[in-house]
């Protein structure tokens, strides 16, 4: 019996050493490289990790806008460095109020269809958090060409300002307390579709 125990023990020890070696190999073979920077991708239906939600246009500020989904475990205090060919653009980012998982960044417009490298850097320490390569898409072209009088603030002037250049505000608008909702008869509606059943059940019915 004792004679049999020797080889079994040997085999077990070898197996354990082999497994330990296998798990250590990645650390032993690349001693000079640090941890890799996570790649960011486009968001899916129910995102769980940092991802790029969409490209957009802030036509009022004449900026491009990039929005991200940020999970609760990640920092939201970051900015972007965007590389387009030889140019580098910096985009400042902000958390959408009331939506802790939504961060959007704005900066100089980049032509539609361009392939860009996005680097996400933490504001404190400027460390690279994540990076990815994307093609700028799904951005609409600005429609009208209107000269907006400068107001000195980042607020869009009210309609009256746009038209007259003064800072008048609509009397109807100001007389309405915040939260007022007015229901109007659908006289300006097109003959369309039957409204979808409100308070719908899940479909397909489980």
């Amino acid at each position: 019996m004792k004679q049999k125990r020797g080889p079994i023990g040997f085999v077990l020890i070898v197996a354990i050493l082999w497994m330990a070696a296998c798990s250590l190999v990645p650390f032993l073979t690349s001693p000079t490289t640090g941890p890799t920077t996570p790649e960011i991708s486009r968001c899916g239906a129910n995102p769980t990790s940092l991802c790029l939600a969409s490209f957009g246009l802030d036509n009022a500020g004449n900026n491009m806008l990039i929005s991200f989904f940020v999970p609760s475990s990640s920092t939201t205090d970051f900015y972007l460095k965007i590389q387009l060919d030889t140019d580098t653009y910096t985009y400042q980012c902000q958390v959408a109020e009331n939506f802790a998982s939504s961060v959007y960044c704005t900066g100089e417009k980049i032509p539609l269809g361009s392939s860009i490298d996005i680097g996400i850097y933490s504001s404190k320490g400027n460390a690279l958090i994540a990076q990815g390569t994307f093609v700028v898409n799904a951005v609409a072209l600005p429609t009208p060409i209107i000269v907006i009088p400068t107001t000195g603030t980042n607020e869009i002037p009210p309609v009256a300002t746009l038209l007259t250049g003064t800072n008048e505000t609509s009397t109807t608008a100001t007389s309405l307390p915040a939260g007022t909702m007015i229901v109007t008869p659908p006289r300006i509606a097109t003959k369309t579709p039957t409204p979808i059943n409100p308070y719908p059940n899940p479909y397909p019915n489980p």
């Binding site: 968001c43 429609t143 309609v159 300006i188 509606a189 409204p195 489980p206």
Partner: protein
Amino acid sequence: MNLLFDSWQVLSLDKWPILVILACVSWGMVITVIVLRSITDLNHNLSEYSSLALAGWIVPLFPVSILVFVLAVTFNIRPNLQVAIAGFILSLGLLIWANRRAEQNISRGSVLTLVTLLCLFLLSTFLHLAFISETPLPPYIDSAQHYLIIQNLVKDFTETNTLKNFIWPVPIYYHLGFHFIAALLVATFQLNIAKLILILGQIIVGSAAIPLFFLVKLETGSDAAGLIAVLLGSFGWYMPSFAVNWGKYPALLSLQTIQFCLSILYLIGKYRKFFKPHWLIAIGAFSTAVSFIIHTRSIILIGIGFTAWMFAGWWRSQKFKWRILLLGIMSGSLLIESVLINSNSNLRSLFDPYFGSAVWITGSIGLLSILAFKKYPKFSFACLSSIFFLLLGLFIPIPHITDLTLLDRPLVEMILFIPLSLLGGLGYMTLSNLVSARFIGVRMISTFLFVGAIIVHAFMSYNFYPSDCCVIVTQDDSVALDWLDKHTPPTTLVAISSTELRITASSEHPQTAGSDAGVWITPLVNRPTFLLPFSTDFTRSDTLSFLCEHGISDIYIGNKDQSFNRALVEEKPDWYRNLLFLPGAQIFRVIGCK
């Protein structure tokens, strides 16, 4: 595993609001039991009291919210953590005082039953927390309204100095019970309104079916039958928990008070021969008033329960042949109602939760209820007739109010689980009595299989996450709303899309409500909004004139089926200028006014 992980993540991230709400629920439960014990001669065990108190916890909390509100707006005593702790200590004093008065200690009853009930409540609540992991805001259009009301009430709790300054939180909204309680918690514990609504909703859903135990236990004397009813109500169908997707928070909360009121009515009926139930009547009346303030239609539902019980008593007193005839008429009428509902496009989806993959559960209850009639005829008939009255309520118009009926489709759809689960509990008890004591093994195996099948069904088809149908705020909307807040003046009047709500049998003059993320502009961004039909043709000159006349400066376009048609707006670049474009949300400025 994802479900457990998501629930756990919500629990760890939002432990403070969860703890606060659970503490309030526990406080309300303790007070309910103390009051019932000290002013009545009731002597039930801990399981029975716990299930009843889980329905009634809101009854003592509501007057507290009103009292704190009055103190805040008249004497400038603002709710805060210190006041809350003082209140808690005061109520503990009451607890000790009341316990001294109580002659008997509460009997513990079966520990296993108590633990099972507690586990069902905690497990159900824990699993439902996963819902919050996928939505930052409570879903659907109603939630925006609830948010706004709570927001305005919180201002009153924390800022208003006199009752004169008090403004009704929103026009055309009448039942504010849920909102007063939510506002009290927000103001006292400095909670986020959206988070509070979401968590409170999931805790209400987790506890919605627990009170069913009380009625079934009292009627059958069986803990097992009570637990079967709770299990059916919790996981048998996707209602009532799916109603959080509709933002029906007041209606969900009223399910608790309705069950509490019906239980009190049952107790009055049960004990009136032994003592004069004056105090029980007083508690029942007060609870009904609270329920009415939480959700106006709950008074109709309590009335239906009461009428069904009285009707069943009368039916029970008839001769056997008349009883059979009446039962036949009742069943036939139910069938006719079902046909009428199925032929009405506004009501057709009412039975969805109870058929589909859950048809075997509903079918089993149908079979079990035949047995239930044998042993518990009055209670079973009361359940059957309450279903009849609930469906009938969909067709009875409210006098002088156009198109409104006593009940609407979503509410009836939500509440049908109560009579069905009660019937299931009674039927199970009858079946297990029928199986001879010699075949106790068969009884245990069949119970195990039935319970197992419900649990497997729940895990296969139950969705603990928000439904795609009802999430109206997307990632792009969140950016657009924030952008609107930071880039437009506070007086900006924004046009948002709306649709018709057809939830009653008649549809000539349907109600109107917002139909995409635009409904959140006022609550979150504090800009007034203007509802326009989602099918508004923005290319027409009279539309532009209309916008200009009413001072509407911006148009918000979301990404739902019933959002405005962007193509129509873009067709007129001289009239509308795009300010913000995201694939799922756009904001246009009206520039064509002269």
